[in-house]
Structures are given as C-alpha cells and as structure tokens.
C-alpha cells in the first residue's frame, strides 16, 4: 500500500466513517477509514473504502483549493447527517489525478462528515457555481 497517513484536522483516523447512502452513483461505497500520515500538517489524506478495497479517495480541505469555499448545508443534509442545529460538519473534497498528472478537486460534491457520529454524506451543491473538476495544479 502506498504512502499512508496524512494529518487532517478534526477526524479521528481510527474510526470508521459511514456514508448511509454511499456516494452519488456509488451507493455501495458506505464504509471508510481515514488514513493519515505520520508527517505533521500534511493537508492531503486518503479515505479508504472498506467495502471495496480498490476504492480509495485522496482528500483535502477544500478551503486550501478555494479559500472562499463556504458551502451552505441544506436542512435535508443537516438532518441526514444528524447534525445539531449549530453544529458544523467537517468538509473534505476528493482529488483526482489524471494520467497526465493534472489534479482536480471535486468542489461540486464535497464530503461532509459529522464529527460526533462519524456519519457522512456527499453533498450536491447544485446552486453554487462549483465544478466537480476544479483544476489544482500538476503533480511532478
């Protein structure tokens, strides 16, 4: 397995994160663990699917990609996540690395995690002007 741990804020790496509805179009991908690096403050993590070992997402804090990123959480999403009225979820976005080394971030469908319950959901920010493939530079 590749470079494991990343140090991401707020979520305990040892706990399973559950997506009751899976991800959009991938309803079977429900259980994940967050793998974090030994290297401190590394802003990129790996969300490893337990149901499907070949499925692993590289994730980061979307505010590193877009500092003004501040998605509104709909009431439906708030209820689905079991969030208390004034609680905020932890928000990650997945990163895709294409074969040419270009990196894109999915800002249209971020992953919201209820820290308290470890329940998660992929949000769909249909009303914003966000891209599922927001360019973020190049590997190498």
């Amino acid at each position: 397995m590749e470079a494991p741990a990343l140090s991401l804020p707020d979520v305990d790496a040892a706990s399973v994160i559950s997506f009751p509805d899976g991800l959009v179009g991938c309803g079977d991908w429900k259980h994940f663990v967050l793998l974090t690096s030994d290297e401190e403050d590394l802003p990129v993590g790996v969300l490893q699917c337990i149901d499907e070992p070949a499925v692993r997402f590289m994730v980061t804090d979307p505010r590193l990609v877009d500092s003004s990123y501040s998605p509104s959480i709909s009431l439906e999403d708030q209820l689905a996540l079991g969030l208390a009225p004034d609680a905020r979820p932890v928000i990650y976005c997945t990163l895709t690395i294409a074969s040419d080394g270009s990196i894109t971030a999915n800002l249209l469908g971020p992953l919201a995690i209820n820290e308290r319950t470890r329940q998660a959901r992929q949000l769909v920010l249909a009303d914003g002007d966000y891209s599922a493939r927001h360019p973020v530079g190049q590997v190498g």
Partner: protein, 93 residues
C-alpha cells in the same frame, strides 16, 4: 422505460410517496413540481452523471503519494494549512 403523457397540471406518482406534477410548458422546457419525502434525493440527471463520473475517477486515481499531491497543492495555491475554520452556514429549506 415507462412512457406516459401528461398535460400541464396533471401528475403521476412514483411509489406511495412521490408525486410529480407537470406545472407548465414554456417553449421547449417543461416545468415539473416534485413532492417527495425529505430523504428522497432529487437530482438532475446531468448533475448525477457529472458527480458519478468524478467519483469514479477520483476512486481509481493514477497512483501518486499524498506527499507529492500535497506539494503540488501548495505550489498551486501558495497555501499552508492552518487551524482556522471558516463558518459553514446551515440554511433552512
């Protein structure tokens, strides 16, 4: 695929809990009203497809170490991770 025709203001049901109503027709656009329980996700097909494809691609990435990706992120954005959290607004329906 089940095919049915509706005039404006006519409806059809999906299961027990979902009602779709044709609200009107404007040129080549049909306006639909959807009444569904809170936990039913209604998504435009294009949006669904876009996210499904992005999820699929993200899940089966070209291998790269997290350190390498983090370095690329820093280069691209000039940002260093900080402890500060920005507010995430919660809005009512």
């Amino acid at each position: 695929m089940l095919v049915l025709s509706r005039r404006p203001e006519q409806s059809f049901r999906l299961g027990d809990d979902i009602i779709v109503t044709v609200l009107g027709i404007d040129g080549d656009r049909v306006k639909l009203g959807i009444r569904a329980p809170r936990d039913v996700v209604v998504l435009r097909q294009e949006l669904f497809q876009e996210l499904h494809d992005a999820n699929s691609d993200a899940a089966s990435n070209t291998p790269a170490s997290t350190e390498v990706v983090a370095a690329a992120l820093r280069r691209a954005t000039g940002k260093v991770p900080s402890e500060n959290s920005s507010e995430i607004a919660v809005v009512g329906a």
